[in-house]
Amino acid sequence: MNLLPDLRIVLDELTERFGARIEHAHAPQPNELYLHTKLELVGALCSAFYKKYQGRLAGVFAEDARAERDVFFVYYLYALDAAHGFVFVRVPVPSDNPELPSLTNAIHAVNWQEREIQDLFGIKLLGHPNPRRCVLHDDWPEVYPLRKDFDLHTKLPPFTGARHRFREVEGEGVFQVPVGPVHAGIIEPGHFLFSVAGEPVLYLQLRMFYVHKGIEKLFESLPIPHCVRLAESISGDSSFAHATAFCHAIERVAEVEAPPRARALRTLCLELERLYNHVADIGAICTDVAFVTAHMHAMRLKEAVLRVNELLTGNRLLRGMPCLGGVRFDFEDDQMRAAAKLVDDFEKEFKDLVELIRSHSGTRDRLETTGVLKPEVTRNLGIVGIAGRASGFDHDLRRDFPHAFYDQVRFSVPIFTEGDVQRRMVVRREELFQSLGIIRQVLEKLPAGPIQTKIEEVPSDRVALGYVEGWRGEIFHWIHTAPGNRLARCKVKDPSLQNWPALSEAILGNIIPDFPVVNKSFNLSYSGTDR
């Protein structure tokens, strides 16, 4: 078994401690370890990973293996950032009376994910503090769409189930302000129920999952090469990151690696995606405090990036560029020059924009100390990406698990501990400067050679994790292959799913008119949450 030394130590220690109760261990990749064990061990392993190995539970998901083994499998994905490795704990859940002890009381980060398993697989959660419906709303009939015996083309009868009951907040002068699910801007649906006493917010209840598209089910119905396009459409603003994470997973299953030039171009595109999203967010934060001038400049800069995206890949959002084993298009010299020019122009203009915002005391006054997400809460909820890094959670897949070309470039990861809107904006600002540096280095070091490794048919019954640090945070695609170049299961983990609950915490003690800017500082994807 070819395993990273740090993971080898972890495995040896765990085998010593739990002996034969860890039934089987295998590592398809050096940084990806699978432990097959029983349900009883889940809690003990979880506490071992958290307490001893500085791990974090980055994902929980299930798989229907009733046809082959007569069980459901539940996977716990631990990211050991310090050891640079991923550990999967796989446990069987019997199919006749599927029940799963919940970890949410200990690890709040998995609240929604465990409930997703309950809704989509019909595995009952034991000891969950709030085991109500989540991804499939209360009015859905009793169906479990991710079970294999649920046909993709099933037509459900009109929904007649009960309406969702929100928690009631009582007290003198306490009012409920419902907002959404349809909003004034052109955004996706999500319902926010504020309980307020005057302007201050006492409690915020979020209700997402209005747009369940069954993407994970769709993955199981398509030939693998088509799945790349599906992965692109999981969340529009992270098209490239999602598709690349998916391709990464397939490449790991097929045991091929994208050629160096392809990895460099992937890095370039990932950073372009970060560039346009971060600058747009900085502008949007400004416009939410009515400092429109900065917003307009930011939009101009975003447009410049989008045009270069189109010039490079034929699509403003980099769609169509990712493909299995590499990237679809190589860049000509003049395209490279356009990218280099973009970096120079962008840096100069972005510095002006930064100065404009920095010198504007009114904006600063609005952003500082607004929407504070405390570091303890951040860890507890497992908040990832920019929101995590603004609240002292120091992790970044680009640095800790170098993928694509990130092991060849130098960059730093900005970390702040204050966790307010201002810091979430500053993290974006600093990451933008780092991105420009990364793009420069990539253009300088760009290796020659092919841009694609051909992948014929993917071997069946293999598992692999694909991962990418998207602009919003870490994106995981876990796959289990099936015969005939298809997938038995594809689990998509978007950072938005992890980060939404942070909003309820960050808004506490703030006033209602500050909510839009706090929300914007997280800028989470509805579509990525509800695949």
Binding site: V177, G185, G198, T293, M296, H297, G362, D365, P513, P516
Partner: protein, 314 residues
């Protein structure tokens, strides 16, 4: 109550026609300063026409207050406008109390608008009404004090008298009491017309709205009336500011030349004021809601100082 029918009709028409273009001008200039290509300055007329033609969607939970509000708002704004000298030094209408009547008319309109916001019991209307009332509780006294400063010098609360008294050789703008009162009134203007840093007229974020939040349930003809009333109110406040503190070029005689000249001066003053509003809106972010009373208290204090200094320096 004095009423000059011809002058009243003329000023009413002026108010109705000039008010939208002033809003349009501010919008367009704001866009230009923000590197955008804005709407044409005539856009508000098209918007009004569009709203007037459209059907109304009215919540079934509303009472008569909801339907009466647009008319009250429109008529009070128009009546307030008739009390202010615009082109001629003599306002076409004078009610008891002069400027007190003007403030009272505006308060009446606001009272109904706040009720109209509450009436449909929607999530945002009540929020807007409560915020509007909080703000006007401080803005209104600041405005009264600022106008009293000028009224004391003129010895009358009748706006025509104030303007006539401050015309002529005795007028100096740099008089400390006037400068302070002008600043206070300008801040009140920003608050009363829902401008940044108090409110953002261009936002789509309901949770941050003040004035707009009260209008969210209105549509069609009612919305047109309210929008029109809002721009008339803006014109009234701006002409108050322009003519009380800069009583230059107001027509004293009833000749066409004097009126033409008066109109020219009036428009020029409005354009300068609109420019000032645009500059403030572009260079400022919106204040935190709980900081808005600080700003308005500053206006109140300035107005108080202005009033005190009238007694000190005369």
């Amino acid at each position: 109550m004095n009423l000059d029918p011809v002058a009243t009709l003329a000023q009413a028409i002026l108010l109705l026609l000039l008010a939208p273009v002033l809003s349009g001008l501010i919008k367009t200039w704001k866009a230009t300063l923000q590197n955008r290509r804005g709407p044409p300055i005539w856009q508000p007329y098209f918007d009004l026409l569009k709203f007037l033609r459209k059907d109304m969607v009215i919540s079934e939970h509303t009472s008569w207050i909801f339907s009466v509000t647009p008319y009250v708002l429109f008529l009070t704004a128009l009546a307030a406008g008739l009390l202010v000298p615009m082109v001629s030094a003599r306002a076409p209408m004078s009610l008891f109390g002069g400027v007190l009547a003007l403030v009272g008319l505006m308060a009446l309109g606001r009272f109904f608008l706040a009720l109209g916001g509450l009436d449909p019991a929607s999530a945002f209307g009540g929020m807007g009404s409560s915020r509007e009332m909080t703000i006007s509780a401080i803005a209104e006294p600041a405005m009264m004090l600022a106008i009293f400063t000028v009224a004391i010098t003129a010895g009358s609360t009748n706006l025509s008298q104030i303007v006539l008294a401050s015309q002529g050789p005795g007028w100096k703008f740099l008089d400390p009491s006037r400068a302070l009162a002008f600043t206070a009134m300008f801040i009140v203007l920003l608050a009363e017309t829902g401008r940044i840093p108090v409110d953002n007229p261009a936002t789509h974020l309901e949770l941050t709205m003040i004035h707009e939040a009260m209008l969210l349930e209105y549509s069609g003809r009612y919305l047109a009336l309210i929008e029109w009333a809002a721009s008339i109110k803006q014109l009234v406040l701006m002409s108050l500011l322009a003519n009380i503190f800069f009583p230059v070029g107001l027509a004293a005689e009833t000749t066409p030349v004097a009126f033409g000249l008066g109109l020219l001066f009036f428009v020029a003053k409005l354009i300068v004021l609109a420019g000032a509003v645009v500059l403030v809106e572009t260079t400022n972010a919106k204040l935190r809601l709980f900081r808005v009373p600080d700003l308005l208290s500053a206006a109140f204090i300035l107005a108080t100082l202005a009033l005190v200094s009238t007694f000190l320096f005369t």
